[in-house]
Amino acid sequence: MPLDTVGSVEAGLDALDTPVVEAKVSLPRRIVGRVLPPIVAIALFVVVWQILWAAAFWPEFKLPAPVDVGAQIWELVTTGEILSLFWVSVHRAVIGFAISLLIAVPLGLAIANITVVRRGIGPLVSGLQSLPSVAWVPAAILWFGLNDRAIYWVVLLGAVPSIANGLVSGLDQVPPILPRVGKALGAGRWGGIRYILLPAALPGFLGGLKQGWAFSWRSLMAAELIATSPDLGEGLGQYLHNGMSLSDISMVFAGIMLIFAVGVGIELLVFRPLENTVLRARGLTRAS
């Protein structure tokens, strides 16, 4: 075959093989498509709630009116109290999560790479993941007293195992061919970890981070609910606790909704976009 024919066959193959880029849907449409379904779902939920309340199946002190709960939240917003509630809880969760990350990453690396460590504490870490971290609240209060350290202790025990396990399973799922390729390309021990293993494990690790966040938020709320003291400052957990003490069901509902909103909000604003970016770059996008 003459060379230029080879070239043109090759060019033709390449042209045929290159995937067609899909036409982008316009931005307003995408937003409508994303945002509308959850709004409709929430609206439906409120409507059902309103109907149940109006039918008065339960007394007012058990099921508050949606309007009353809305008024509670609105009051928090207008007085600015909501900011301090959010600040107290979210900054604790973020600090707790960050410390968990610092502990969990070396731990996960050690479990994944060192056989003795894996056999020794691997099962322990997986086991801790299924132990509800609220169980640590009494011990933490006895050890540290009613202070921030007790709360962080509970958050750590909630988040560290899930982050470490996420990293371990991410590393375990790396196709064995990739480290081999890395070695053939001249990667040393650290080069292999830094340039091959860690990036390859990233999707699994992100899953672990997401779960770790959920656990640290959950543990924090449990700790705040139980460990209430004026020294601790008022977070969302304490707010909920106060609602219970005052037998104010609309306050309790408002507290639950705010806790839910923060948990879901951080997942949607931080973890979802991060995960989508990583997966899309690798051609692993799910239908979204």
Binding site: V6, T18, V181, A184, G283
Partner: protein, 266 residues
Amino acid sequence: MTATIEARQAVTAATQPVRFHQVGKAFGQGRRAVVALDQVDLEVAVGEFVCLVGASGCGKTTLLNLVAGLDQPTAGGIEINSSRPAVVFQEAALMPWLTAAGNIELPLRMAGVPKSVRRTKAAELLELVRLGGLGDKRPHELSGGMRQRVALARALASTTDHTGSGAGKPSLLLMDEPFSALDAITRDVLQGELLRIWQATGTAILFVTHDVREAVRLGQRVVLLSSRPGRVVRQWDVNGLTGPAEIAAVDEVNAALRQVISSHAA
């Protein structure tokens, strides 16, 4: 013309990129051990294109892994006198989080080559495999053939030793059935590309395949490996054969391969 090579002219050992000395490789211990390779003697000359053929499971991949340093022989020794051998695996195995150019830059990055140098080198290599302008594509956006070409470029990048220890030494490219997962036309095109790149770079190539036709078309020398244990059975000089001579050579190697396989039937 096909001639079995009985005695290859002695080239000074120092200039040969690879020399096997009675190499053996067994997996496992004691009686359950699988002897994959036994007393293999093989050498590749500077710039030579050697094709290794053999039945499935005869130890071809094992042999390449030994040369690549991914595995250690259990007997004998291998003398490597080249810059780090470049390896192309059967699957492209590109890093999915890196672009095509990023993949090619990876070995340079791990060797600590500065960014600007990496950029130019990657662009050069992309041109060499005729993928100029596609450096920003992710592996999943490329076809199988294109991915394999990126893998080839990446392997070539890994052999260009910038640290100095391998400077001036002959280069060596190891390829393990790189085209076997591709369709016939793409494979045909890539074989042509490989010959062009071989001529352009002057690298020695040790190419593993189970396709005798491919081996005879590409190689200057074809080496037949027996199965269990893998030994070098015969070698043929197939340099520059065309037309009827090429077909005759293919038939001859095929016949020998069949004979090796059927000897296991008993």
